[in-house]
């Protein structure tokens, strides 16, 4: 597929995937926080 014109670039999708990544990072961080509040195991 040839080079995209500027107005056809998937700008919305880029916003969506970065939002997706942000949600994942936040949830990942929260999960580790919840884990650290548990009893200790090892």
């Amino acid at each position: 597929m040839s080079e995209l014109k500027e107005e056809h670039r998937p700008k919305g999708t880029l916003v969506l995937v970065y939002f997706f990544l942000a949600v994942m990072v936040i949830y990942y961080w929260l999960s580790w926080k919840w884990l650290s509040e548990l009893w200790l195991f090892g």
């Binding site: 998937p10 919305g12 999708t13 995937v17 994942m24 990942y28 999960s31 884990l35």
Partner: protein
């Protein structure tokens, strides 16, 4: 030879009639099992919602076992077989290499599925989908799954044989289409996984029949998940192939770059099958080093592949819609998208649900240490109802709306109902999935008949929030059931009584 083909008036493709017959029978059978599994789901959720508590415990555990088998094996794999024949013979203008093998596979799968179903309903195989030893099912239960797996392997081999025939007979030029490429990744994963399943169920079945001693319970768990989790990876690859197909069918999208999307499929074929220890992270008997290697899909390379598709699928839709003139701002394309086309709305529900609900939670629960927070809680079914139901099943439903006119050559009946169907099903399943994960985060166990612990020696209450969460899960399930029933009725009515296309 030519008499065996018809020319598709819409696409211009030459459709091999024996392939078309096989696609039809597999698709119809899959929808029958979807209907069975859906009805079972309703009884299950109204048992877990303790305000109703519909089923007695033995029936609850029995129906739960059958729900897993009917949905995860029968509905999904039959449909995948149809997808394999469609993406090989039909998309490549080719003949199916050996239709007799397709029928042999179909018969084996059907005999197997019925055998396992009968074994469960007979009441001596209440072992859940996982059938962890020393829980023992009837030998027929295991034999049925082995036959089913062998039948599905035959379908995969037939897919590759058809690719070879098409290449040899030069029915297409250049590379195979992207969707066929994705289906090939699914078939590669499937052959390894299903063969693995067929092999380890044999000693388990022989043990159940009293012939050989029981295998080590932890070894069983490892072997089971090498099959049980990896079969879901077939679904992932097949689902994403369907996403690309739906993007093209609904808005005429073409991949932003073939190289990008196909590389992601290669990563799947190489790495996604490694993971099976997501279910064994707080088990004894396996070292942390091995768990981390395994559960990370080899350094998260399969996660990388999923993230690549997470960009390229919506991107190709966006580019296609922008080229139609919807170029204002960031999201005009999304606003002006064909939301009334059931396949398009389904595609969006499927992509977003798989990513946000299934994918993100999958990363969390699949992280070695974090798994202790969610292991065997309702978070797990919440996660896989997002991946397998919202993701895979909805993608297949979306494709069905095109299979009906293109392969069954019938106009989809009840078009208004068809427009609404994805919204019922999508909103319903999103609700089910989110509510299950929410309730699971309070420690509510999965596969549990009575979380009020009424018959237990010690009392514990999960509290009113959990009761509310279970009620919301049931509400979501009812919506999804309405959507699922609409889908089955539309599909079956169209197959039986739809107006013939172009004839």
């Amino acid at each position: 030879m030519a008499a065996e083909f018809r020319k598709c008036p819409t696409t211009g493709l030459m459709v091999h009639l024996p392939a078309q017959a096989l696609i039809k029978i597999n698709a119809v059978t899959s929808i029958v099992f979807l209907l069975i599994g859906g009805i079972l789901a309703l009884t299950l959720i109204f048992t877990r919602w303790q305000a109703v508590h519909l089923l007695p415990p033995d029936l609850f555990y029995r129906f739960l076992t059958l729900h897993g088998i009917a949905m995860l094996f029968a509905w999904i794999v039959y449909f995948e077989v149809a997808v394999l024949y469609f993406t090989s013979a039909v998309l490549l203008n080719s003949r199916l290499a050996a239709p007799w093998a397709g029928w042999l596979g179909y018969v084996l799968m059907t005999v197997g599925a019925l055998m396992t179903t009968v074994a469960i309903l007979a009441g001596n195989s209440d072992v859940m989908f996982t059938s962890y030893v020393p829980l023992k099912a009837s030998p027929l239960y295991y034999l049925g799954i082995v036959l089913f797996a062998v039948g599905a392997i035959i379908a995969c081999v037939l897919f590759f044989a058809t690719l070879a025939v098409a290449k040899h007979e030069k029915t297409y030029e250049g590379s195979v289409p992207l969707v066929t490429y994705g289906a090939a990744a699914a078939a590669i994963i499937a052959i390894g996984t299903l063969a693995h399943g067929a092999i380890f169920y044999i000693p388990t079945g022989l043990w159940a029949a009293g012939v050989i001693p029981m295998m080590d319970p932890e070894a069983y768990r490892l072997l089971f998940w090498g099959f049980g989790h990896s079969t879901q990876q077939i679904n992932v690859a097949a689902m994403i192939a369907c996403w690309y197909a739906l993007a093209t069918l609904t808005v005429g999208a073409q991949p932003v770059s073939e190289k990008f999307s196909r590389t992601a499929f290669v990563l799947y074929a190489l790495f996604i099958n490694v993971a099976s220890e997501h279910h064994l992270l707080w088990d004894p008997g396996i070292s942390s080093a091995h768990k981390m290697w395994n559960t990370s899909y080899v350094l998260h390379l399969a996660v990388l592949a999923s993230m690549m598709h997470a960009f390229s699928v919506p991107a190709c839709v966006e580019v296609a819609l922008r080229k139609k003139g919807y170029t204002k701002g960031l999201f005009e394309w999304l606003k002006k998208a064909p939301w009334g086309n059931p396949s398009f709305s389904t595609l969006i529900f499927s992509v977003a649900g798989f990513g946000f609900l299934g994918g993100i939670t999958g990363i969390m629960y699949g992280t070695e240490q974090l798994n202790i927070l969610g292991h065997n809680s309702l978070r797990v079914p919440g996660h896989f109802h997002a991946t397998v139901v919202i993701g895979t099943s909805m993608a297949f439903m979306g494709l069905t709306y095109y299979v009906l006119p293109l392969i069954f050559q019938r106009e989809v009946m009840f078009p208004t109902a068809a427009k609404l169907q994805p919204y019922f099903y999508g909103v319903g399943m999103w609700t089910v999935s989110i509510a299950m994960m929410f309730v699971g985060s309070f420690g509510v166990p999965r596969r549990h008949w009575d979380i009020t612990l009424a018959d237990a020696p010690f009392q514990y209450s999960f509290g009113p929030t959990v009761d509310l969460g279970m009620a919301i899960t049931a509400l979501g399930a009812v919506l999804a059931l309405i959507g699922g029933a609409m889908f089955c009725i539309i599909a079956v009515a169209t197959v039986l009584a739809g107006k013939k296309v172009n004839q």
